[in-house]
């Protein structure tokens, strides 16, 4: 069997095109195949053309190819390689060993694309093939400079305990190894890599980062509600989120609200994704859904809601975020990344760095990924039958106000306040240690809602650009002491937010210095139906 593909080996691996990470991985892969005297067969040009073609593989395509023992892979491998005789010839040889080593070690070196691996393999092919001495010598210099550090990186990954180890001979069947041992290559085709380290360290085991399964309760498109209405015998609850005024130019709606009912109780949550946090939109949607469903589940085995139960629900939500982060980091090619990234425009490799940093906190200037604030809880009829009692928790910012008389102006009290000028948050629900720290002492309140009263929960967006209460501002905008709520309008919360956004855009058009509601907007409104029976409340 001769070499396949054109030579195409007139390139030098190295900066600026190739990252430090890729060069280290190149050294590692070359180390793994340096003593294999069998012909490499695949030429650098074939690999470079593959990389730049419409067939450019992903990591999963490379893995899939390696698993094809019965015959060549059917997709995204070039015809020159998968041609039947060639594929058979490649089995057990250095090319497929190099592919195997590349994809198994790539995550430890921060390499996550099939294209990069193709280029790396082209450089290995150059080194082990019949490229010009200039290129071989260059590659061997890169190898010599980097192999020590690359092996150290690899060994450290092993010691981190987040990996399973398999001996190299578990990855290749014994018969293939024995074939390698006896097959001497023609001198002209596979000159050995020189110089060989005088005291090479033992061949490291191949490491596989354990695949973490995707957590249950993964949000779906169906969960991405922008509005909702829940009505029980005694409770009415409206909720909605909105991308915000047009002038604010928010790329996506990173606020989310959710509510669900379990008989007489209604569970509610409002989350505000931290705009500079990767995956904030995904996180906000997940948090509101998981917090509510978890609290609902916890209350099945408890007689009454308590602050500690709320904290437990928040903590379980945080653990879900932790599990999600682990899933993402250990599955860098998973399709779920697309859901998490939302409208973020940062590159995939940077996103992965940010995710890993959330776990390690190596760079203190990077905030956690998937971070969002939370205001959530449960509302239920009070034991004395005179109103509703609310158990609410807050992590980060967001506010709760009570309108104490829906039929008159005034009577607004702040139950959980925030500084509308403050844009820095002190806490958020997020994976990693920072998220854990934020849950050490979340705020909890236990307000009541009497007849003719209304409880309003909002994110910080509705506080921006004015100094009054959110309730009062919404009264002004809607021209209604009841902020425009009617039981026959199940979209009332979204209607209110739309009016607020329109008002903000109008204000901005009149004066560009006025930045009213300059953010995503979200709102939950809860009223008691007791008032209606007794002649008050929302009608």
């Amino acid at each position: 069997m001769g070499n396949i593909g054109g030579m195409g080996g007139m390139f030098k691996i190295g900066p600026p095109e190739d990252s430090e990470c890729l060069l280290d991985l190149f050294a590692f892969v070359l180390y793994r195949v340096r003593d294999d005297q069998s012909p490499f067969i695949v030429q650098p040009g074939t690999l470079l053309v593959w990389k730049d073609s419409g067939l450019a593989p992903g990591i999963e395509d490379l893995k899939a190819g390696l698993q094809c023992k019965a015959g060549p892979p059917q997709t995204r491998w070039p015809a020159l390689i998968v041609e039947k005789d060639t594929w058979r010839e490649l089995q057990g040889g250095p090319f497929l060993k190099a592919v195997q080593a590349s994809i198994e070690a790539a995550p430890y070196f921060g390499v996550y694309t099939g294209k990069e691996i193709c280029r790396l393999l082209a450089a290995v092919a150059q080194t082990k093939g019949s490229a010009e001495p200039e290129f071989k010598d260059h590659n061997l210099r890169v190898y010599k400079e980097r192999i020590e550090g690359a092996l150290k990186t690899y060994t450290q990954a092993q010691h981190q305990g987040a990996v399973e180890t398999f001996q190299a001979n578990q990855r290749f069947p014994p018969e293939a190894q024995s074939q390698q041992a006896v097959s001497a290559p023609p001198q002209s085709q596979a000159p050995p890599v020189q110089p060989k380290p005088t005291s090479p360290p033992p061949a490291p085991p191949i490491l596989i980062r354990p695949r973490v399964e995707r957590p249950q309760l993964w949000p779906t498109e169906r969960d991405q509600f922008t509005r909702g209405f829940i009505s029980t015998e005694l409770i009415s609850l409206w909720h909605a989120s909105h991308v915000g005024p047009s002038y604010a130019e928010k790329g996506e709606n990173q606020d989310a609200t959710f509510a669900c009912t379990d008989g007489s109780r209604v569970f509610f949550a409002l989350a505000d994704g931290v705009s500079t946090s990767y995956g904030a939109r995904f996180s906000a949607v997940a948090i509101v859904n998981i917090f509510c469903s978890t609290l609902q589940e916890l209350l099945k085995s408890a007689t009454e809601p308590t602050p500690s139960l709320l904290k437990e629900a928040a903590n379980k939500t945080r653990i879900w975020l932790d599990d999600t982060l682990s899933f993402l980091v250990t599955n860098p090619n998973a399709s779920e990344w697309a859901q998490v990234r939302g409208a973020s425009n940062i590159n995939d490799d940077v996103a992965l760095h940010l995710c890993e940093n959330t776990q390690t906190l190596a760079n203190r200037f990077w905030g956690p990924v998937m971070a969002a604030t939370l205001v959530g809880g449960v509302v239920q009829p009070s034991a004395n039958g005179r109103g509703l009692e609310v158990f609410a928790l807050r992590v980060g910012d967001g506010l709760i106000e009570r309108i104490e008389n829906l039929d008159t102006e005034g009577g607004i009290s702040s139950l959980l306040a925030m500084d509308s000028q403050e844009t820095e948050i002190s806490a958020s629900l997020s994976p990693g240690r920072l998220g854990e720290n934020s849950l050490v002492s979340p705020e909890t309140i236990l307000p009541s809602i009497g007849a003719g009263e209304l409880l309003l929960v909002s994110s910080d967006g509705l506080t921006r650009g004015h100094n009054g209460s959110v309730s009062q501002k919404l009264r002004e905008i809607t021209g209604s002491s009841r902020i425009g709520l009617h039981n026959d309008d199940q979209s009332a919360a979204l209607t209110i937010l739309q009016k607020a956004a329109d008002q903000a855009d109008d204000s901005f058009k009149e004066n560009q210095q006025i930045h009213l509601f300059n953010d995503n907007l979200s709102l939950i409104v809860i009223t008691s139906k007791l008032g209606k029976r007794r002649g008050g409340g929302v009608g």
């Binding site: 130019e249 931290v274 590159n347 760079n363 200037f365």
Partner: protein, 229 residues
């Protein structure tokens, strides 16, 4: 919801901040410190800084920062000009200490034209508020003697670029520079107190603190004071 607390002017999509980094890539940058070779520190820290700025740019349809980056030795090699952080290729952010001498005037001339190009791009943004934008920040790093001509005219041109929101802040950072060579850095900086000669082992930390300064909206003086011994 921005996580930044900005006490000064706020970098937003309508009031972006132009940040220019010019890094010495001459042979002397390969010298090793307790934290590793200076050029490797610069490579790693600059990549991290760009990634940091990429992460801050999320959640906005525009860009809060516009970046210019170049390395220089015997000549100046632009890496990014008037680029959004997410458009900067991290693979190209490599300082290999293989660019020869230390031709400072050419590097400063590049900074002038890159900064003007970036400001010109900003002025095309609908609703751009130059008065509300943070001062453009230029960071000039070098560890050695200027092997080029007089930096005075080009440094003056750079510092004099008109900016309605204030002025261009040029910070000149010596990396363990010989004291006899340091006066040139004082001449490059907008003001003498914006020049500093840092311990080479602190280079990565300094660049990381540049990120913190930008995030907090602090003045460059605050940054310099931390390293001015």
């Amino acid at each position: 919801m921005p996580v930044q607390k900005l006490t000064n002017k706020k970098a937003t999509a309508r009031s972006p901040q132009v940040v220019t980094l010019i890094v010495d890539d001459s042979g002397s940058m390969s010298a090793t410190t307790a934290e590793g070779p200076k050029n490797e520190q610069a490579t790693s820290a600059t990549k991290q800084l760009v990634m940091t700025m990429q992460s801050w740019n999320q959640g906005s349809t525009g860009s809060r920062y516009i970046l210019n980056i170049a390395k220089f030795g015997s000549s100046t090699i632009p890496i990014a000009e008037a680029s959004k952080p997410e458009a900067v290729s991290l693979n190209n952010l490599v300082f290999a200490a293989d660019s020869g001498g230390t031709e400072m005037p050419e590097a400063l001339a590049w900074a002038s034209q890159a900064l003007q190009k970036a400001l010109s791009e900003c002025r095309k943004i609908p609703g751009y508020a130059e008065e509300g934008s943070p001062n453009p920040l230029v960071l000039f790093f070098s560890d050695g003697e200027n092997t080029g001509g007089d930096v005075g005219p080009v440094a003056k041109a750079l510092k004099s670029i008109p900016f309605s929101g204030g002025a261009v802040d040029v910070v000149a950072v010596g990396i363990g520079m010989d004291q006899k060579d340091f006066p040139v850095m004082e001449g490059i900086a907008s003001r003498p107190d914006l020049s500093v000669n840092i311990d080479p082992k602190d280079l990565a930390e300094f660049i990381a603190d540049v990120g913190a300064t930008l995030q907090k909206g602090e003045s460059p003086e605050t940054l310099i004071k931390k390293y001015d011994s």
